[in-house]
């Protein structure tokens, strides 16, 4: 279902040119099985890590947050796996489209001299393409004020749809929605 990496070739080339990459882990494909993440990390662990060694952690999915728990569960489990294996955290190169995840990282580290590197970007092959086509803006072609391509069912999408429908705006906003199949 998922490619091995979500990073674009350009991003990968850049990171590999800067660091000695020991491996990469896509959290979206593994966040329900951290025993497996631990296994993957164990194959990347070295007896002595060089300052340029990095393990790329691709974090392009939303996390699970619970009331009164200060971290996302995926982030918490990720750091737990590093700690269980005693892999220094400086080897972690976290690439994330959650802007502000550094705050959580800062709370999860123990030694401020042993910190992951964080890159915040929404550029991944899943979210971005280098093949955007030039199009012309012709406002006279507009026949509908709005569109909302909602995708999979989520609470805020349900709420927006109900708002649009109950306020008789379905002739003003073209909506697509996919019922929850799980």
């Amino acid at each position: 279902m998922y490619k091995h990496s979500e990073l674009t070739d350009e991003y990968k080339d850049f990171i590999y040119s800067k660091y000695n990459v020991l491996g990469n882990i896509r959290l979206i494909a593994n966040d329900s099985d951290f025993e497996n993440v631990e296994k993957m990390l164990s194959t990347m662990k070295k007896d002595i890590h060089l300052p340029t060694d990095r393990i790329i952690i691709e974090h392009f999915d939303s996390d699970y947050y619970l009331p009164e728990f200060p971290y996302g569960l995926t982030m918490y489990n990720l750091f737990t796996a590093f700690k269980k294996l005693d892999i220094p955290l400086f080897t972690m190169l976290l690439v994330s489209n959650s802007f502000g995840i550094e705050k959580e990282v800062q709370q999860l580290i123990i030694d401020t001299n042993d910190c992951p590197t964080v890159i915040n970007t929404f550029i991944s092959w899943y979210h971005y393409t280098n093949q955007y086509q030039e199009i012309e803006i012709d406002a006279d072609e507009i026949i509908m004020p709005g569109i909302s391509m909602m995708g999979h069912a989520r609470a805020h999408r349900n709420a927006l749809y109900h708002y649009i429908e109950s306020n008789s705006l379905l002739d003003k906003v073209a909506v697509t929605y996919r019922k929850n199949v799980k």
Partner: protein, 175 residues
């Protein structure tokens, strides 16, 4: 040290905070006749030709009640299609876009919603923003789009160049 688990659809944003707004699941697939192609088809995921018929994309990002802005292809699509956008997502999303060199539309929309952390309060501002715009006469909406065309063009160019720009910044920071 043990790993914590949760069940699917237990994300914090799955619990809807405002009981005055219904968030009950919808039991049917919905697809407006204006929309062509399959969901997430590569022909419509990044850009879609039917966007030329609409003025504003009301983007329902992956998350709404969430501690961080989360930006996906859903936010990038109206930029790629040179359209206006309103973000039904986490607070601070517009600010991140501004930091990435994009411009939004404060002359058209009350964008104070982006600064409102409280999800319920933000929701009610968004309702007004959406309703105020989509109920305008279509001629007025076309004029608004024309008035914003410089921003739409610049945003598109910024998007096309974004990867090169970002990698340049990372290189400058000697990451």
């Amino acid at each position: 040290m043990t790993y914590l688990t949760t069940v699917p659809f237990n994300r914090i944003n799955e619990s809807w905070p405002d009981i005055s707004v219904s968030a009950w699941p919808i039991h049917n697939d919905i697809k407006h006749s204006l929309v062509s192609g399959l969901p997430n088809n590569k022909d419509t995921k990044y850009q879609a030709s039917f966007y030329k018929k609409i003025a504003v994309d009301i983007v329902t990002e992956t998350v709404y009640n969430y501690p961080y802005p989360y930006i996906s292809e859903k936010t990038l699509r109206p930029i790629a299609c040179k359209r206006l956008f309103i973000i039904v997502g986490a607070a601070g999303t517009l600010e991140i876009l501004h930091n990435k060199g994009f411009r939004s539309f404060p002359e058209v929309f009350d964008e104070s919603y982006d600064t409102i952390v409280d999800p319920v309060e933000r929701w009610h501002v968004l309702e007004k923003v959406i309703t105020n715009f989509v109920t305008k006469p279509i001629e007025e909406i076309r004029d608004i789009v024309k008035s914003q065309s410089d921003i739409l063009e610049k945003n598109f160019i910024n998007l096309k160049n974004l990867q090169t720009t970002e990698l340049g910044h990372l290189n400058d920071k000697n990451l």
